[in-house]
């Protein structure tokens, strides 16, 4: 690991001033950043520890939105009564990620900004456009059984590893941040950038910005939602495919539906084509399957990850069917 200076920020403004300096990064839980520093992928000259900032905790805004502070740990988010009551898919998604130890360390903002677990990204000897722009992509011709099938580009086929972000995509969360020039917010649907030919630029967060919170729009108590993850081990593994869904059925018809997929793209994938197909129509397993197929029609699987197409289709069908049974 390269040597670095360390500072603990006590005010947001100080943190923002510090991070404006060359090659300085924010440190929160460290579960991803410290890992990447050990591997030489990240080589900051200075770390600004943001965990002493007053950005911790979950509170309800006056309009009923739920505000999750940036440094709230994943464990705190998953265990929070209001998250469990109103946004159960978010609690389930967070619990499906990492291990108990890592969830006690990892934070909301850090989870959103975590990097891909593509093995070539973590290996300095391999070509990777995300790590070294223009160097190529070793995964396209290499080991890619767990890589992306939707929204890929020839420059990068890596997936976003977050479970939490898939549920936040489902609930139309809003990411709030501060920069030295003021405050801003980004709806999560616009937070992650399409890959294009710049896979190294992953989000639309302005340079030098500090995420301060993530807001979940107001939602009635007791509304069903569900997160289901398929992986290669029973626990403690990244998703092959995951599905977060929210479904309201009245008189056999789909009144509201939201679907988000994980493990299939460079960012959590909102299945808007499937949602549009389903809205107003009969809530039947056959329709769920057809809607998932319509969403996946644009899939561009590689030689070793074609299994994700039927897996995603079946998982969408299963989760939606399950939600109709719970109604």
């Amino acid at each position: 690991m390269k040597e670095f200076a360390y500072q603990r920020a006590t005010a947001v403004h100080d943190a923002l001033e510090s991070v404006a300096e060359n090659n300085t990064k924010f440190l929160a839980g460290g579960t991803n950043l410290v890992d990447l520093m050990k591997r030489g992928v990240e080589t900051p000259a200075r770390l600004i520890d943001v965990r002493a900032l007053p950005l911790n905790g979950i509170s309800e805004a006056r309009n009923g939105d739920l505000v999750i502070g940036a440094t709230t740990t994943n464990s705190e988010t998953a265990a929070h009564p209001e998250i469990r009551r109103r946004y159960p898919a978010l609690s389930q998604a967070v619990l499906a990620g990492a291990s108990g130890q890592l969830r006690n360390m990892a934070t909301t903002a850090g989870n959103l900004l975590q990097r891909t677990r593509c093995a070539y990204f973590a290996d300095l000897a391999s070509a990777c456009n995300k790590r070294v722009p223009g160097s190529g992509c070793a995964a396209v011709e290499g080991e890619h059984h767990n890589h992306a099938i939707l929204g890929t580009s020839p420059s990068c086929v890596a997936t976003n590893p977050s479970d939490m972000a898939v549920a936040m995509m489902l609930f139309d969360a809003v990411v709030r941040y501060e920069t030295l020039t003021g405050k801003g917010e980004i709806p999560i649907a616009r937070f992650f950038r399409p890959v294009g030919d710049t896979p190294n630029v992953e989000t639309t967060l302005p340079t030098g910005a500090l995420i301060t919170s993530v807001t979940l729009p107001r939602r009635a108590e007791g509304r069903r939602s569900r997160y289901r993850k398929v992986r290669e081990r029973a626990s403690y593994a990244f998703a092959n495919v995951s599905v977060a869904a929210d479904l309201t059925v009245r008189l056999g018809k789909v009144r509201e539906v939201r679907i988000a997929l994980g493990g299939v793209a460079s960012h959590p994938w909102r299945a808007r084509i499937a949602e549009e197909r389903l809205l107003g129509g009969p809530a039947t397993p056959e329709r769920f399957r057809a809607a998932a197929e319509a969403e996946l029609a644009a899939a561009t699987p590689l030689p070793h990850n074609g299994y994700k197409v039927p897996l995603a289709r079946n998982l969408v069908q299963a989760v939606l069917t399950d939600l109709t049974r719970q109604e």
Binding site: M1, E3, F4, A5, Y6, R8, L27, G30, T31, V34, D35, K38, R46, L47, D49, R51, S75, A78, A79, P81, R84, R85, P88, S91, Q92, L95, A96, A98, S99, G100, Q101, L102, N104, M105, A234, S235, Y236
Partner: protein, 179 residues
């Protein structure tokens, strides 16, 4: 002039305060093993994947290999050496002995610290990924499936898992009776 890449830190390990001058790169695991001489936490993978380095940091189980020592400045750390007061073993330690919850023992310090964390998290009402209903009105009971899920961050290459699960469940029941 002070070197910006080193820091003066204070760690309270198992109740005793240690003042250290550490390279900012030092992991909490290395600080414990090399500086404060607590060899309980083990270096298995050093990348947060095996759980052998698990300690309690301000009461919460964490992997000490991905925790920077400098970032833990001012914290209280409990290693396996500090779980029991003298020979008065915790229920989970006693259960590991009685039910043979280990083979070679390398992962055991991490398993024990993690198990103490698991029991506290369950007492606090935290659900897990296998909890059928995450609603706060639903009280989740610890069973073998729950223990396997909650302990999944601790690998055991001997494969002593069946006995580890039994020991954690046994400790959970004893603690339940005590209360």
């Amino acid at each position: 002039m002070t070197d910006a890449t080193r820091s003066e830190i204070s760690l309270k390990v198992n109740g005793k305060t240690h003042r250290l001058n550490v390279d900012n790169r030092r992991s909490l695991l290395d600080a414990l093993r090399e500086d404060t001489k607590h060899a309980g936490p083990k270096k298995g993978c050093d990348f947060g994947q095996c759980g052998a380095c698990t300690v309690l940091l301000d009461g919460k189980r964490v992997v000490s290999c991905l925790t920077l020592a400098v970032a833990a400045d001012g914290s209280q750390v409990t290693t396996v050496e500090g779980l029991a007061a003298d020979d008065d073993l915790r229920p989970v330690q006693e259960a590991f002995l009685r039910l043979d919850g280990f083979q070679c023992g390398f992962c055991t310090p991490g398993q024990l610290c993690s198990a103490v964390g698991v029991l506290a998290e369950h007492r606090a009402g935290w659900p897990s990924a296998v909890t059928s209903d995450v609603s706060p009105d639903h009280r989740c009971r610890l069973d073998a499936e729950e223990v396997r899920e909650r302990m999944s961050g601790n690998l055991c290459r001997c494969g002593a898992y069946p006995s580890i699960v039994r020991a954690v469940l046994d400790a959970a029941e004893r603690e339940e009776v005590k209360r």
